[in-house]
Subunit: 327 residues, 2 copies
């Protein structure tokens, strides 16, 4: 798809959002890596919305909860790359039957998710870069678009301005980080476990790196630790040889990241830091820079995973179960 | 404290809930193990509430988000065992300044959390059992109480009836499980990593076992895997020698647990199953049995941790960082 196509699809969906009689809830529904992309959107709604509620849920959990509030005042934003994830397709069917406005992202127009959704938006998939038509960016454009249409939130324009700095910014970051990434890969290629840590709008990036890149694609044990939770349990596993990847965000959540980093660096010699301040995020519009930080981390983290997979001789495409059997 | 004291404190807080002009949100705010107890309450609100929103957040994350909706229509329910957790105390101050009704649980009346909160409820702390005045039970009584007072939800009485079956039920379960628990401890005492897995109202139990019992108190690497997310990444780390503890809940989330268990048992020889159906939960009132399941798991999981700590020779009370230094 092209920028024009995606932009038109977003405008079309937001037009329907503006036309609804009332909007009280946005449910962000997906699985795995797509679910991870939903998490910063709940964060945005909580930070920015006067009355609208944001709620990110795994699609099977959404079905189990069958939220009583779900109805004609709800928007359900779903995402499945293939458009075939059964839980996500089913969640959209449930939502639509309940009268909710359904807007889905998928890479595959014509897929079951596309067919079941009232509105569909397609996106580009190129993990080593970032642009306004990458899925993570499209989701946040939708969120700000809903808040603009329904509550007059004025940050959508700043957000779009910030996005315009990508993909040049992403390309530069990946290029600038080549040496650091190569060193990480060599020094971590034998690790059995690597923790990730983040907070606020960046927790989703830490989560997707842990479950998709490390557990799924590298068979490395992992867990995403919330930096605010670290001191209430997880920090006791910190030791000189325990590896962490710490994401340092922007805005009010950064204090959590700084506190966690100070401790982790004191007791572990294996802490890798990705700081949005060193990643060009400070050149972005200040009113939305905290929300853009996860989009900065995304391509850089992918570069880390790519190089780790090379060093391990374990391509990111290898699976032993996924897509290979019924489950 | 006694049952009468705790009951009176709950009634007092719910009286204030009934007297509010409007209630739109319940924020459940805490850290670590107390935060884990909040998660089933968000689940209950989503399943049961017609209009009220439930949102469980780590206390530092709550401060960073500074939810724009927070105000005089909000209830903030907080919990800190010692009553001194700075993030939780600060969250309550923020909430109260915003006009929210603040209700806190703490073991220590007279603590900072007690002093800062409009209403305080004390509870018994005895991890190997369960009763209507344990913190996890008190939180759910409060949640059903709010839904009864504000929306006429009728399940509070069933819930109280179900709770009356504890602590006799908990005592029997811990006693019945002695052999299974001892076998788990012997066969897992050298494990470097143990995953926990659950979904729905039981995810909080899996989470607290991972971060408090395993990471904090046993220095065993761990992560709580959401059973609905398992197939979208984490399941690729499953192998014959990778240990899982799978909680099997009741109600609509059970389908996720069953699907995850079927896969995990096929490819790992190290899956320990705790099934609410085998734990007497089916004798509880059906309308609320899914919500009571986490209260059934709690004492049994503690028995597992106790025995593991014995087998490892690593008491649950040992810490290397917590309470021993500034952080």
């Amino acid at each position: 798809m092209t920028t024009n196509q995606t932009d038109a699809q977003i405008a079309n969906a937001l037009n329907a959002v503006a036309g609804r009689e009332n909007v009280s809830d946005i449910f962000f529904v997906a699985c795995g890596g797509s679910y991870a992309h939903m998490l910063p959107n709940q964060y945005i709604v909580e930070r920015e919305a006067k009355a609208i509620i944001g709620n990110a849920l795994n699609a099977a959990e959404f079905k189990a909860r069958a939220p009583k509030r779900l109805g004609k005042n709800s928007i359900v934003i779903a995402c499945s790359h293939s458009g075939t994830t059964p839980e996500t397709v089913e969640a959209v069917k449930i939502a639509r039957a309940a009268g909710a406005l359904t807007i889905s992202l998928t890479h595959d127009l014509g897929s079951p998710l596309d067919r079941e959704s009232e509105f569909t938006i397609s996106y580009v998939h190129a993990p080593l870069t970032m642009s306004p038509i990458h899925s993570a960016a499209v989701l946040q454009r939708l969120t700000f678009g809903v808040l603009k249409a329904r509550e007059g939130n004025t940050k959508a324009d700043d957000f779009d301005k910030g996005l315009a700095a990508f993909p040049a910014l992403a390309e530069k970051l990946v290029s600038d980080h080549q040496d650091k990434v190569a060193e990480f890969a060599e020094t971590h290629k034998r690790e059995a476990i690597i923790y990730t840590m983040a907070s606020g709008p960046n927790f989703g990036q830490a989560y997707s790196f842990a479950i998709c890149l490390l557990q799924e694609m590298q068979w490395v044990h992992s867990a995403a630790i919330h930096a605010g939770e670290y001191f209430h349990g997880p920090f006791e596993i910190t030791d000189f040889d325990v590896p962490f990847i710490q994401l340092m965000g922007l805005g009010p959540s950064r204090a959590m990241d700084e506190r966690a980093l100070a401790f982790a660096q004191k007791y572990s010699k294996r802490v890798t830091v990705l700081d949005a301040n060193d990643l060009g995020a400070t050149s972005l519009p200040e009113s939305v820079s905290e929300y853009l930080a996860p989009l900065v981390f995304s391509p850089v983290l992918r570069a880390y995973a790519d190089k780790l997979s090379e060093a391990k001789g374990h391509p990111l495409t290898v699976r032993r179960y996924m897509w290979k059997m019924e489950y």
